[in-house]
């Protein structure tokens, strides 16, 4: 009987119901779009901020020592390996070119690095196995702002910084001889590099060529690492002072300090933050996240009020119907039950459609703005769902209370 009443009530008032559902759809789609974006903004904006370059610097653990190039792949085996976006090692020294001293650096330009498969045992003996993988990395990935007039160098070729090129009178295609002690090597200038930074006064060759010239096979003296991190809490954390539980949490959070700590565990080197990038990143990410959450909050409040207003109207206009029901013996609880059931149905249908629309919209925003897909998170779906049903119910509360108090004789008599 109840379900038949509910069903026929919905069928008879198709247009009104459609309008109420539509209001819920609007609210739910705004909520789910904005929530989805908000939950993901940290990751997406973090990746964008990576265009400012590397945020971790590895240096030899003692003065005069070197880092082994062969150990570097290990940073892709740490707990937060997926947060390591790329790295590029450097080996620099001063060379003589045409009797002028300039700094010559060897680095990865765009190298494919093999990462051997790893077996890891996590807490509770859960075994994780990863297949052998490769990573493409080098300055092309890490320093996306570099501008090269000409070609990126092949082995035996060099990029010359714009200031250095001017000083040495070099052009693209020229040959120059770099002398280092008793060694020397000849490079062809493949392009002119401008960055606006210190690289403008240097020459850049492939790491292999530099190691050969400096006779330091397999060694590097500096590695810059680009890692996705989470803003650190304001207070400084000293991991050695943390109790075991908190230590575990710190270790398993992608703070820059824990990632640096994990890199130091597998590579014999000293890790330091590149403060220009690392410090600012956290501040900016916090702002972005705040901004999105505030906007989401405001939009959701408005959407909720809209849904509440729609529900309010939809009950308000059925005074007569309520009066009739009461006249033929329905009590307050039955009427309230009917209306609340209607609100729940409206909320569920509207919410489901709205969440779907929201997922599509968030995906579109992700592709347009960040060139990457934003997938709805469990929480954004959950919150939008609860919100749409909850607000539909809440919005019906007031008018239902009024409806229950209706005096049938007055209503039925006419306006």
């Amino acid at each position: 009987m109840f379900s038949r009443l509910l069903f026929s009530a919905i069928q008879r008032r198709k247009l009104r119901i459609v309008l109420a559902v539509l209001a819920v759809v609007m609210g739910a789609s705004i909520a789910s779009t904005l929530l989805t974006i908000s939950f993901d903004i940290n990751d997406k904006m973090g990746r964008e901020l990576k265009s400012y370059g590397a945020n971790i610097l590895l240096q030899p653990s003692s003065e005069g020592a070197f880092i082994n190039e062969s150990e570097l792949y290990r940073m892709k085996t740490i707990f937060w390996r997926h947060n390591i976006i790329g790295y590029s090692p450097y080996l620099s020294d001063t060379v003589k070119v045409k009797d002028t001293e300039i700094v010559l650096s060897g680095t990865y330009l765009d190298e494919e690095i093999r990462i051997p498969g790893i077996n890891k045992t996590f807490i509770g003996n859960r075994k994780a196995q990863e297949k052998e993988a490769t990573i493409r990395t080098g300055v092309k990935t890490i320093a996306s702002w570099w501008k090269v007039d000409g070609e990126w160098p092949a082995p035996g070729e060099a990029l010359v910084g714009v200031t250095a090129a001017e000083k040495l009178g070099l052009k693209q295609g020229d040959l120059f001889r770099a002398e280092f002690g008793s060694n020397n090597a000849t490079f062809k200038v493949s392009g002119i590099l401008s960055t606006g930074g210190d690289e403008d006064g240097q020459a850049l060759v492939s790491l292999k060529d530099a190691q050969m010239l400096f006779e330091k096979q397999g060694k590097v003296d500096r590695v810059v690492v680009s890692a996705l991190t989470k803003p650190e809490p304001r207070e400084k954390i000293d991991p050695s002072l943390l109790p075991p539980g908190e230590y575990e949490i710190w270790y398993c959070t992608p703070y820059i300090s824990s990632i640096m700590f994990q890199i130091e565990e597998v590579i014999d080197a000293n890790a330091r933050p590149i403060r220009q990038v690392a410090d600012n990143e956290g501040k900016l990410l916090n702002k972005f996240e705040w901004l999105m959450f505030l906007i989401t909050g405001i939009a959701m409040t408005t959407a909720s009020l809209g849904v509440a207003a729609a529900m309010n109207t939809s009950i308000f206009e059925r005074k007569k119907e309520i009066g009739l029901m009461k006249a033929i013996g329905a009590d307050g609880n039955q009427i309230a039950g009917l209306f609340f059931a209607e609100a729940v149905v409206t909320g569920i249908i509207g919410g489901a459609i709205g969440i779907l629309i929201g997922a599509v919209l968030a995906r579109m925003v992700g592709i347009w703005v960040f060139g990457a897909i934003i997938n709805p998170s469990f929480f954004s779906v959950l919150i939008s769902g609860i919100l749409s049903v909850g607000i539909a119910l809440l919005g019906s509360m007031l008018p239902v209370k009024k409806a229950v108090g209706i005096e049938p004789s007055i209503i039925l008599r006419g306006d």
């Binding site: 702002w145 960055t195 590149i274 009020l305 207003a309 729609a310």
Partner: protein, 349 residues
């Protein structure tokens, strides 16, 4: 007669009217706050991104030194002259940088100093330089015949770590040079315009690409994101306003039937309802504009610590949108209502 009809009908239904006006107001408030923020975001975020430090380097056009750097351009928000020179310390060649270090620290807020900024006769070595020379805060360092106190150690993670920073005057005394080898400039706004201006002044200008290029890309993305969000919310707000207006006219079909039965023409009927919608649109729009403005202001203060700029265009736009949506959304149900035979409506459901 017409005005009396409209005001009377609004007065009699004031409770229902309030709901409609609130609906219009909410939509208008959303539109206003999001438009205000998204039009302002480029400037605000641009200011935030200036924490990355200088985005231009100015080099002397002729000769080797800039004696006086006095550039007046609205977009230049800071400039720090540096004097770089090399000197031997403990028979190691080290690069020195002289500057107004307080200004430099302000422009590069990420500079991490273990100790304090140096005063006269004091130096601030970068961490790599300090390691190389075995220096710690409080030590003394002799350059030539003079000795200096190490006031602190600078940690930046950039090549600046290899240099020793000293106050500008001290740098000029040691090196015997006057002027600066380069000036770091922080630009907020149109960077290409500033480059053109400085080149006309006879300087050589280099973009610090790491900062300048990334900033542009980031600002473009942020603005696009905000514009899209504003657009979605705007469409959703318009649609939910549409729902409210449709319902509010639909429930008055009896009234419409009665008016028709009393001989009111279709055109006149539509005019009455449109006038009502217009009044609601304007009232809700104005209220919503101010509500939205305070929301935008709240966000601006909360996140950027700055006032948002008030733009009159937004007021006009908000009013236009709310009135138009209110009018269009009442048009649809009115057309339906007036096409119905009054007899059918008046007879009952």
């Amino acid at each position: 007669m017409f005005t009396r009809l409209v005001t009377k009908s609004l007065w009699v239904r004031r409770e229902r009217l309030l709901i409609s006006i609130i609906a219009v107001m909410l939509g208008a408030a959303m539109v206003t706050s999001l438009l205000t923020i998204s039009l302002d975001i480029r400037e605000k975020m641009g200011k935030e991104l200036r924490i990355y430090g200088a985005n231009l380097v100015v080099l002397p056009g002729e000769g080797e030194y800039i004696d006086q750097f006095n550039a007046t351009h609205g977009s230049i928000i800071g400039s720090v002259p540096f004097l770089y020179f090399k000197a031997e310390v403990n028979s190691k060649k080290i690069e020195f940088a002289g500057a107004d270090l307080e200004a430099a620290k302000k422009m590069n807020p990420w500079w991490h100093i273990e100790g304090v900024l140096p005063e006269q006769e004091e130096v601030l070595p970068g961490i790599n330089a300090a390691n190389k020379l075995g220096l710690r805060a409080g030590d003394t360092l002799s350059i030539g015949e003079k000795s200096f106190k190490v006031s602190g150690i600078l940690d930046t993670g950039t090549p600046d770590d290899n240099r020793i920073f000293i106050p500008m005057e001290t740098a000029q005394q040691i090196s015997g040079k006057s002027g600066a080898t380069l000036v770091q400039v922080s630009v907020l706004g149109d960077i290409d315009d500033v480059i053109k201006y400085l080149e006309n002044e006879g300087y050589k200008v280099k973009k610090i690409r790491q900062v300048a290029e990334s900033e542009k890309a980031l600002l473009d993305k942020t603005q696009l994101l905000m514009a899209l969000v504003a657009f979605f919310v705007l469409s959703a707000a318009s649609l939910s306003l549409l729902c409210t207006m449709i319902t509010s006219v639909l429930e008055r079909s009896r009234e419409i039937g009665l008016m028709k039965a009393l001989g009111c023409g279709n055109g006149r009927l539509a005019a009455i309802f449109l006038a009502e919608a217009g009044i609601m649109g304007i009232a809700g729009g104005i209220l919503g504009y101010f509500a939205g403005l305070s929301l935008a202001q709240f966000i601006g203060m909360e996140i950027f610590d700055m006032n948002v700029s008030i733009k009159p265009e937004i007021f006009v736009l908000t009013l236009l949108i709310s009135t138009m949506v209110a009018a269009i959304s009442s048009l649809i149900p009115i057309r339906r209502a007036i096409s119905i035979d009054p007899v059918v409506i008046l007879r009952g459901e």
